[in-house]
């Protein structure tokens, strides 16, 4: 779907990422187990906000949500984004997806400047309730983006894919209900199932597990890792849970408070595949999460009032 652009930039990995600018790694981290070959993180930059700035409103009411953000997301990378509430994470994802035209700066998808939504991209919205269409059944909601004109799968195949995706998120058998007949957490999982069934090349997720219980959450984390591993899709994942950010990501980008910039970018050099119990007990994991937490907390304490 997404063709690699002609002007693709190949940058060698640097040991220490310059704050605010992280670069793609041409090589991959050593796999923990040699049996399961890991999908390499490509050297192609799929997504790149460049000096992004977003201001809401005009005049005296203007709020600069994002001051200046530049980073790069490589093909196949799993990028976690954390930052204080209201710092502009959702705004950032909306800009990356092409839904929101930045006030200044650019978003490059596969090296090309875009100002509209790109194909092959999917997003799980923070406002999951409102992103489900109340007039469609749960299954139809999942099928909705699949039934587009460009994809020519048969009706049957699409339905099966939707059912599979629903089963994967633990919603076997609710396909015929309407979204408003489901609980909050179930609705959120429908939104996730929709994104997964879509099989995007780039997946943007905005706090997708916020309404889930601990067990469902870790199940879905692992599901996401599995999908990421199997399809090699690029994932940008916004979360408030530092553990989750570190556990899932290849890299954690920490945003500052408003007006927002990239405060730090942490490479997560934990082996893959990861595992809820083993990975989280690794010394390196604890180190990384402490580091990330420190960065986030430091950020909070300097927050200026609105």
């Amino acid at each position: 779907m997404m063709r690699p652009s002609a002007e693709l930039t190949v940058i060698r990995r640097k040991e220490v990422a310059v704050a605010g600018i992280s670069e793609c790694r041409g090589d991959k981290f050593p796999s923990a187990s040699s049996e399961t070959a890991q999908q390499p993180i490509g050297s192609t930059i799929v997504l790149e906000p460049r000096h992004l700035r977003v201001t809401y409103g005009r005049g005296s009411h203007a709020v600069t949500a994002i001051a200046d953000i530049t980073f790069q997301v490589c093909a196949g990378e799993f990028l976690s984004i954390v930052g204080p509430s209201g710092c502009g994470k959702t705004t950032l994802l909306k800009s990356l997806s092409g839904l929101l035209r930045p006030t200044s700066g650019d978003v490059l998808v596969n090296g090309t400047r875009v100002d509209t939504t790109s194909q092959g991209l999917a997003m799980v919205f923070q406002e999951y309730t409102r992103s489900l269409l109340p007039w469609l059944s749960v299954r139809a909601n999942v099928e909705f983006p699949l039934r587009g004109s460009r994809r020519t799968d048969s009706r049957k195949a699409i339905e099966q894919r939707a059912n599979e995706a629903l089963a994967e998120v633990g919603l076997h058998g609710v396909g015929d209900k309407y979204p408003w007949q489901l609980s909050g957490g179930m609705q959120q999982r429908v939104a996730i199932a929709r994104a997964l069934a879509f099989r995007p090349t780039v997946l943007l997720m905005d706090e997708p597990f916020a309404s889930l219980d601990a067990q469902a959450r870790s199940d879905l984390e692992d599901l996401l890792l599995k999908v990421h591993f199997e399809t090699g899709m690029t994932i940008v994942f916004v979360t408030h849970d530092i553990d989750e950010a570190v556990y899932l990501g290849d890299r954690v980008v920490v945003l500052s408070h408003r007006p927002t910039e990239v405060k730090a970018s942490l490479d997560v050099d934990l082996p893959r595949p990861r595992n809820q119990i083993e990975t989280k007990t690794l010394h390196r994991f604890v180190e990384l999460r402490t580091e990330a937490l420190g960065l986030v907390l430091a950020e909070r304490s300097t927050e200026a009032p609105d």
Binding site: K94, S97, G98, L99, T117, S118, Q119, G120, L121, A122, M123, F125, E127, R130, S131, L133, P134, W135, L136, F144, P145, R147, G148, S149, R150, Y178, W180, R194, F198, L204
Partner: protein, 283 residues
């Protein structure tokens, strides 16, 4: 005034056990018909009494019983039915045109700021020109006949639907639209799957208002400009000074309107099962 639309999906019956519940249900069903019926009876009685005590001159406003008996004789005659047929034909044709133009144009105006900006002044101006006032001009263009009636029906009936469609577009949830955009859903499918269903509650309202407007004009047209139709039947009754017959035919108009609305409501209930205003019914 108590805001009572609690969410008692789970609440119906229960508590008192099954048999009581079944009996309650039957009673409820009976009430569903009994109450509106009694309201109608009261209204008819009120008219009857008004006429008898001479609040309105009885000569000109015959009592309800007289009107009803005139109505019952009238519906056995072809004259009324010819009028009904002609008016309903004009209504149906008019509604087809109204829907075919009103919904897409309204949604277009509501969706794109450019088309809206370009046309809103023109549309607002034309909109408030009542078709009836333009009659002299239309009359010359069409002459008396079905085309004139239909153009009057369309001119009067299209605006509610068009405006409601426009407002419906203004009320689409941006998150739903954003979802469709992000997933690369094409414009046409977005229209069919997001825009249209989202506008549906507004369109349903518009359709009901348009439906009666169109009917009113389908009937009134022949009253004002001649030709065949219910209006002509009323004019005929008025001409010979038979007030009972006149009111019987007015009654027939109202019944037609009632029928049209009930049909549209049934349609709406099917189409809007998901909507907050209909969820109780769907449960």
């Amino acid at each position: 005034m108590k805001v009572m639309r609690a969410e008692p999906q789970a609440a119906v019956g229960g508590r008192r056990g099954e048999p009581a519940r079944a009996r309650g249900r039957a009673l409820l069903d009976a009430l569903r018909w009994a109450e509106p019926a009694s309201v109608v009876v009261v209204a008819v009685l009120a008219w009857e009494i008004t006429s008898h005590v001479g609040l309105l001159p009885q000569r000109d406003f015959p009592p309800a019983t007289q009107i009803l008996s005139a109505f019952l004789t009238d519906i056995r005659h072809g004259e009324l039915w010819i009028g009904v047929g002609a008016s309903m034909r004009a209504w149906a044709l008019g509604m087809l045109i109204i829907i075919a133009i009103g919904v897409p144009v309204g949604m277009l105006l509501g969706s794109s700021s450019i088309s809206y900006k370009l046309t809103y002044l023109t549309i607002e101006f034309i909109r408030t020109l009542p078709g009836i006032a333009a009659l002299p001009i239309l009359m010359f263009a069409y002459g008396v006949g079905q085309p004139l009636v239909i153009s009057l029906v369309v001119l009067a009936g299209i605006w509610p639907l068009l405006i409601q469609s426009m407002y419906g577009m203004h009320d689409i949830d941006p998150v739903a639209v954003a979802t469709a955009k992000v997933y690369g859903v094409g414009r046409l499918r977005r229209f069919a799957l997001v825009d249209l269903p989202s506008c549906m509650p507004y369109i349903a309202t518009g359709l009901r208002v348009s439906g009666t407007f169109a009917l009113i004009f389908a009937i009134a047209a022949s009253l004002v400009i001649g030709g065949q139709g219910m209006g002509d039947a009323m004019a005929e009754a008025a001409r010979i000074g038979d007030r009972s017959l006149l009111f019987a035919r007015v009654l027939a108009c109202g019944l037609l309107g009632l029928g049209v609305t009930l049909a549209l409501l049934a349609l709406e209930r099917r189409a809007l099962r998901w909507h907050a205003s209909q969820r109780e019914a769907a449960r």
